[in-house]
């Protein structure tokens, strides 16, 4: 394997791993403080048990997220030294603020985890809220750095040099808002459905139903609201891309020829050589409308751009289909949940209802990973859009493939271990409350 491919694979693999832990670490604290608040209000012990077990989940995920993040912050330099040499000073602002946010998060988490019965109740609860807020803040900041790679700004690029650097303008680059909004919603959708699904499964298995129903409700409420907002924000992102990165849009839609009133393809098999898309459903004029809000707008096709600036069309197109498909599915599931709320007597006792949400558990995360693949593979061959190519900045150190293998082995073991730990957490939760009641 070439060094470049190995480095790209390693970057992709470690990010795909980190994002799962980061999202859970970002969103779980919110579930936890809601359960905690309900305990403070009702003094119903079920909520206390739930809070404490979610808190353990947060701790495990937080540390795994933190160590994989630490590895990532080195990796940026280790794999792409030339990129960091030039980009580091420009996007340092979000990263240094992110460092501060992490710090606040870690301090607040220290208070929260170890503060039970030691610090005043109210203050203790607030430290939990701070964990959540600073987690989301750090997520937004990293995504802003990524937005800068898509929409570079805050410098003048003259003769291969980055001059007149303005770190604040780079932080608030044109892509930061749409990406950060979409990402934050995605984190809530994915984690909400995943946590709800795990508890739904316990209900299917008839284990400790009273507790799991309460847990399910908290998680799914967050997930469902986010899932309903997600397509709206996704549409904003798409309109943004249409302006900023027309090649990416064309690749997402497998749209080869520039045309007015362009159709939207659903599904389809892409052949990049012959530039054909077979087995698709075409909705006339829909792409023009979605991208520009006008049925007859012109949408640039891939052929308008030099061939060596095309990303891998098939991957981007399939990933986009997966994201949007699952997004639509989760939207319906979210709406469905709110409908059942109003007539819960019947639905909440049906096994089918719980089975449905069990099956939906991984879907949010699959959509989230697919979305990142769209963004990141769709940015290729550029590491900084229209400025710097990925292949020019890869590390000169040979044999990156071995470090890639090391991460694959390490993170696979970690994934298995964390899953196992979580299942033990649930098992003990079920046993504990059985004894107590």
């Amino acid at each position: 394997m070439e060094n470049l491919d190995a480095a790209r694979l390693q970057m992709a693999f470690t990010l795909i791993f980190h994002i799962v832990f980061a999202c859970v670490g970002m969103v779980m604290p919110f579930f936890m403080v809601v359960a905690h608040k309900k305990w403070l209000n009702t003094r119903n012990d079920i909520y206390l048990t739930l809070t404490k077990s979610w808190q353990k989940g947060v701790a495990i995920f937080f540390v795994t997220g933190a160590v994989s993040g630490t590895a990532l912050s080195f990796e940026l330099g280790l794999l792409w030294p030339e990129f960091m040499k030039h980009a580091g000073p420009i996007i340092g602002m979000p990263f240094s603020l992110e460092g501060a946010a992490f710090f606040v998060e870690a301090i607040a988490l220290g208070f929260y985890l170890y503060g039970w019965n030691k610090i005043p109740e109210k203050f203790h609860w607030w430290t939990g809220v701070i964990v959540g807020i600073s987690g989301v803040a750090s997520g937004i900041l990293v995504v802003s750095a990524n937005g800068w790679m898509n929409a570079p700004s805050g410098f003048d690029y003259i003769n291969g040099e980055f001059l007149n650097i303005d770190p604040i303008k780079a932080l608030f680059n044109p892509a930061w808002f749409t990406q950060a909004l979409h990402m934050t919603l995605a984190a809530f959708t994915a984690t909400g459905f995943a946590v709800a699904g795990i508890h739904a499964y316990q209900i299917v298995k008839k284990r400790n139903v009273a507790l799991h129903k309460k847990a399910f409700k908290i998680a799914i409420t967050f997930g469902a609201i986010a899932a309903i907002l997600q397509p709206i924000s996704g549409d904003l992102s798409a309109k943004d891309i249409a302006e900023r990165q027309p090649v990416k849009l064309a690749a997402m839609e497998a749209h080869f020829e520039t045309s007015k009133g362009a159709p939207l393809y659903i599904g389809g098999i892409v052949n990049q050589e012959t530039q054909e898309v077979t087995h698709k459903i075409a909705i006339p004029k829909a792409l023009s409308f979605l991208a520009f809000g006008n049925l007859d707008a012109e949408v640039k096709g891939l052929n308008d751009f030099p061939k060596d600036e095309h990303p891998n069309v098939a991957i981007v197109h399939y990933a986009f289909q997966v994201m949007v498909g699952l997004g639509t599915l989760l939207l319906f599931a979210g709406v469905f949940f709110f409908i059942t709320l109003s007539r819960k007597r019947t639905w909440f006792h049906s096994k089918k209802f719980w089975l449905l949400f069990t099956v939906l558990a991984p879907m949010g995360f699959i959509a989230l990973e697919a979305g990142w693949i769209v963004t990141e593979v769709g940015r290729q061959p550029w590491i900084i859009h229209n400025i710097m190519k990925t292949k020019d900045v890869v590390t000169p150190v040979p044999g990156i493939v071995y470090s890639f293998y090391m991460y694959v082995i390490l993170y696979s073991i970690l994934t298995i271990a964390v899953t196992w730990l979580m299942s033990r957490q649930i098992k003990s939760l079920n046993n504990k409350t059985l004894v107590e009641t």
Binding site: V63, T64, G99, N164, P396, L421
Partner: protein
């Protein structure tokens, strides 16, 4: 503003060595304990480190971010030529962090604890060794900084730069320093009966640190490592070392008497003095290649960046330091209350 940035860089380095060092050291102390003491140490570590564990390790991230934002050219050389030890260090950090949570948060305490404990102890030793190796490699002058890497073999460029006796000695010196810090810290935290365990450990660790320090310098001098030669002939560095040697006496006696605050203060000042001694003779060159020193101040980021970074650090510092202080204080108070 440059000075603010440099200050935060040095400050993060100091805190990382002190806090994360004591943290790594805890695992090393546990590794070199008898079975009975291991269980005691494990409990004490959890009580002491638990709440601040995460915060201790963020300092390295702050360091890295400062390096890449403000000193990109300098950072560039480190990540290219020391890729391998850095990756190994990351491996250690990962395994150690994971082992720490697993062993304290697993819902069942059963046989898997044995695995977590070993993972924790081994990675606690290896991580600081690789950190030390990285630092040793930085100053040993064996890095070949070239624009035409094709002319050299993989081994010469990316292995020989860090895998040599001097850097390995530095690695062990740093690990010993961590164990020393941790043992001193634990004296004050152990319950009354266990105190003498750590008094003994701290005494041994002090001897080992001094020994490793001496051997490292001696070896560096004999094998003509420029950094060491300059270090030995630098007045400031030698004065600092002399002071730290003199301070060993009160340190020693406060350890013997089991004085918690005083022994920590002296231990901390040892680290501060060692860092000052190591960094001053050549400042601003902290990196040595075969062609001599490379200044950290060469090719720094433009002023606009330094200004924003400095301001961010100041604001961040004002938010974080009181929080951190409060965290440490709150749990210290609680611990003292609990003991009575």
């Amino acid at each position: 503003m440059m000075y603010v940035v440099l200050f935060f860089l040095a400050f993060s380095l100091l805190l990382y060595v002190l806090l994360a060092g004591a943290d790594f050291g805890a695992g090393i102390v546990e590794l070199f304990s008898s079975k009975k003491n291991q269980a005691i140490t494990k409990k004490t570590i959890y009580r002491v480190m638990g709440p601040v564990w995460e915060a201790n390790h963020i300092w390295i991230i702050i360091m890295i971010v400062i390096l890449w934002v403000a000193f990109p050219a300098y950072y560039n050389i480190i990540v290219i030529y020391l890729h391998i030890p850095l990756t190994l260090m990351l491996l250690g950090i990962t395994l150690r962090g994971v082992a720490f949570v697993f062993r304290h948060y697993d819902a069942y305490k059963d046989k898997s604890q044995i695995l977590y404990d070993w993972m924790f102890k081994i990675s606690s030793l290896l991580t600081p060794v690789f950190l030390g190796i990285t630092f040793g490699a930085l100053i040993s002058g064996k890095i070949i900084h070239t624009t035409t890497p094709i002319d050299y073999s993989f081994k010469i460029l990316y292995i020989d730069s860090w895998l040599h006796t001097f850097s390995i000695l530095t690695g062990f010196f740093f690990a010993a320093l961590c164990a020393f810090l941790s043992a001193v810290l634990l004296i004050g935290e152990a319950s009354y009966g266990d105190k003498k365990i750590y008094v003994k450990k701290a005494t041994i660790a002090t001897i080992v640190v001094v020994l490793f320090g001496f051997i490292t310098i001696l070896y560096g001098y004999i094998s003509k490592i420029q950094f060491v030669i300059d270090f030995v002939s630098n007045l400031y560095a030698m004065t600092t070392i002399l002071i730290s040697a003199i301070l060993l006496i009160p340190l020693w006696s406060s350890i013997r008497k089991g004085r918690r605050v005083l022994s920590r203060l002296f231990a901390g000042s040892q680290v501060l003095l060692i860092l000052i001694a190591a960094l001053t003779p050549h400042y601003p060159s902290i990196l040595f290649t075969t062609d001599g020193g490379i200044s950290i101040l060469d090719n720094v980021a433009p002023d606009s960046v330094i200004k924003v970074l400095g301001i961010s650090l100041l604001i961040g510092g004002f938010v974080i330091l009181p929080g951190l202080f409060h965290l440490l204080k709150s749990f210290k108070m609680i611990k003292i209350l609990e003991r009575h």
